[in-house]
Amino acid sequence: MKRLDGKLGTLASLPMLVVLALAFIAPLGLVAIFSILPEKVFSIVNMPNFSAFKTMVNQGYYKSLLWSLFMAFAASTILFIICWPLAYGMAKVFKRFALIITIAVVMSLFVSENIRLFGWVLTLMKGGLIEGYLRHWTGVGFESPLYNVGIIIFGIVYVYLPFMLFPLAQGISMVPEDARQAARDLGATRWQVLTQIDLPLAAPGIMVGYLLTFVLAAGAMAEAKILGGRAVIAIADDIQTAFTYGQNWPLGSALSMVLIVLIGTLAIYGIAKIDLDKIMGRD
């Protein structure tokens, strides 16, 4: 059986491996090569000179990288705090309502993120859903909260909420109920149960949620463009500009490489740490 499994496993993985090799690994390899080529060339037959990395530092592109990382971190942390109670409810308290929440949250994912962000513009802008009706009923309005860093973080929190919620709920559901009750019985307060039992035992879920939201948020662009009105430039936006308007593939590649290496390290570290078989249902 073992040998047959080995053969079948290899065969079954082939279609996916072909797609990933041709359309994921090869393009990334190309990005890696282009990142060290002289700027503004369009062919890989050039001598590498690393000038794109110099430009990146000299022209302050690192600022958008730092902004992106900061916003991703802030959003992940906020998401952790606001998702925890709901994830706890889904894992330990709700019965049917947990399913309703799951369906509602998954359905929201099917709506293109730019439509949802655009919805927030309509909701929050001066003369939008909230301000418009508020002024209509009370006569008092408020200035638009759009177009600043805070609202970009808000947008990231909004878009990536499911990616924190589900791993957290999964993590909390892996905390044995008996361990929580035993801690309580041994004299722990609710707060002590949270800090000494729930948080350490749900750590795999917390880590996956944090990583997932951080990684996705660090590469996000639409929030900054649609809600933030480019109050700050996201690194992904810079990358796009370099590739498209700038026609500078090596610069775009170099920026991409920095982001990929940062995110990739985190992602690989995180993915290596989680036991997929256990999380997905085999004990």
Binding site: F24, S108, F118, L259
Partner: protein, 266 residues
């Protein structure tokens, strides 16, 4: 732990608030889509369904929808096939590189889509392929096929390998086992994966943006209009796209319910 009634109620209210938070922007879009004014301000003074008829009559809109649909349908079919086999390699067969394969499958999901789209754009250009809706299919697959694999894998994990072994013991060959045992048992997962694939492809924009070339999908067009030059058709098309997605989900859930009701009772 005996969760107190108060905690339960408080958490339920919190859940409702979060769901409301997720859907509030869509409410604004829905309102905007029925506003008669060309430049939108709330409160809406006059309602009209005029933008809907205009949207539905427009050839441009029809072209956009058709492109999105073509991509989504092909991505769905391919993802279901790749996902079925991928899930077997992911969850069912104990082979040497299984754990490595699992991690490789997860990587594209963790990857920023904008960067992936741009890398693919450069890749296609280097290969001399002119981007069109066909290249967008490849781009979507990189992201969606792994998700489809995960969804089928959840089902494959709960699958008892003894069933396949029993079939083999009775003389079935590998292709027969796949067709007669594995495929029917994983079918609910494959259908769910197909549904996800279609919806995710239909709504995707960061990958389409760079890989469709001269063609354009609905989310791309909406984005272009949002970032530069508002069109009153944006909310209308947005809400139409959302309604289409939700109808599909509802139809799928209804289909599932009908299937369960009609299935011969054991």
């Amino acid at each position: 732990m005996g969760t107190s009634r108060t905690t339960r109620i408080a958490l339920t209210i919190y859940g409702i608030i979060i769901i409301a938070f997720l859907y509030l922007p869509l409410v604004s879009v829905a309102f905007a889509s029925v506003s008669k004014a060309r430049y939108l301000t709330f409160p809406i003074k006059r309602y009209s369904t005029g933008w809907f008829s205009e949207a539905l009559a427009s050839t441009e809109v029809r072209m956009l929808a058709l492109t999105s649909l073509k991509i989504a349908v092909i991505v769905t079919i391919l993802s279901m096939i790749i996902g079925f086999f991928g899930a077997l390699a992911f969850a069912r067969y104990q082979w040497r590189y299984r754990s490595l394969f699992q991690k490789l499958v997860l990587l594209p999901i963790f990857f920023p889509q904008t960067v992936l789209g741009l890398a693919l754009l450069m890749w296609f250009n280097s290969l001399g392929i002119i981007p069109s809706w066909k290249t967008a299919i490849v781009a979507h697959l990189v992201w969606i096929a792994p998700i489809a694999t995960l969804i089928v894998a959840i089902r494959a994990y709960s699958f008892d390998p003894a069933l396949e072994e029993a079939a083999r013991d009775m003389g079935a060959s590998t292709p027969v086992i796949l067709r007669e045992i594995t495929l029917p048992l994983l079918m609910p997962g494959i259908v769910a994966a197909g549904l996800f694939s279609f919806l995710l492809s239909w709504g995707n924009f960061p990958l389409s943006l760079f890989t469709t070339g001269a063609d354009s999908t609905l989310p791309e067009w909406l984005y272009a209009k949002m970032v530069s030059g508002y069109s009153p058709l944006v909310p209308t098309l947005g809400i139409l796209s959302v309604i289409g997605s939700f109808l599909l989900v509802i139809a799928a859930l209804a289909g599932l319910a009908i299937y369960r009701a009609l299935r011969p009772q054991k």
